[in-house]
Amino acid sequence: MDITKEDAQEAISVIEKTGKQTIKSVAAAYTSPILILWGLICFAAYLGTHFFMKWSWHIWIILSSAGAAGTFLICSFQSKHTPVKVDSSNKIWLKIFLFWVFMLAYIFTLLNIAHPVNGLQLNALIMTFVMFAYIVFGLWINTNYMIWLGLAVTICTIIGFYIVPHNYYSLWMSFTVGPLVTGTGILIRYIWK
């Protein structure tokens, strides 16, 4: 079979492009609904904290629990309707689950060592650490949007902590982090399909 140099280059380019497209679209199917959910939760929780500071612990615990339950439901649904089936039982979900378990354990340890002085510092610490873990995960699985999202949310958190007046921190986070996370979920769902 005679193939020109140009045909060979075109074929390599098709292989690379198709491979990347496949990985992106599979990632979008799994993570997009989860990001949209957690973006909405962040928006609601921060907004609730701004207007009902006294109840902030309750708001975050209730909404985070709802987020965890929602994530579990999405994963269960996706495992039956996913475009890609995994033979080894729930391998991907186990990895993701373990990642979050380890991260929560490290956050707990960090907070016990660091002893943040107030709720704002506590929240900023947790958000920064979660985003750090998110960026590391993104680097590990070679997924750029996770790195960019992690960096963007970290920058918003830093701006919120150091520059925004403290009594407007939650409002700032509600209208930056919430839309960032939800927006990323929508972007990868509809643009990476």
Partner: protein, 97 residues
């Protein structure tokens, strides 16, 4: 010596193999997903998959999930090796060797 694989090199089959090779070893792609990803019709995709299966490069599994029939396709070890060899052959052509 790496050689151009005529079965794999056909444009649609090349994309099918590239998509399946991008998945992990124990992952299988759904037929409808492949069809949408690669912008092929049912008949077109089916014909190319049959050709690849006959060559031993892919395995097709028909199953039921929630009582709905679904078809999953995975690349075989032989398929991965053949695609790797084909890519090496293409690179040799590009480098002029």
């Amino acid at each position: 010596m790496a050689q151009i694989n005529e079965i794999i090199h056909q444009p649609s089959r090349l994309k099918i193999m590239a998509a399946l090779a991008a998945l992990d070893y124990d992952e299988q792609a759904d037929f409808s997903y492949l069809k949408k990803l690669l912008k092929l019709t049912d008949g077109n995709l089916g014909a190319h998959l049959l050709k690849l299966e006959q060559a031993g490069y892919i395995k097709i599994e028909k199953t039921f999930i929630d009582r709905k029939p679904r078809t999953f396709i995975r690349i075989t070890g032989n398929g991965r090796d053949s695609l790797k060899e084909h890519i090496e052959a293409l690179k040799k052509i590009i480098s002029g060797k």
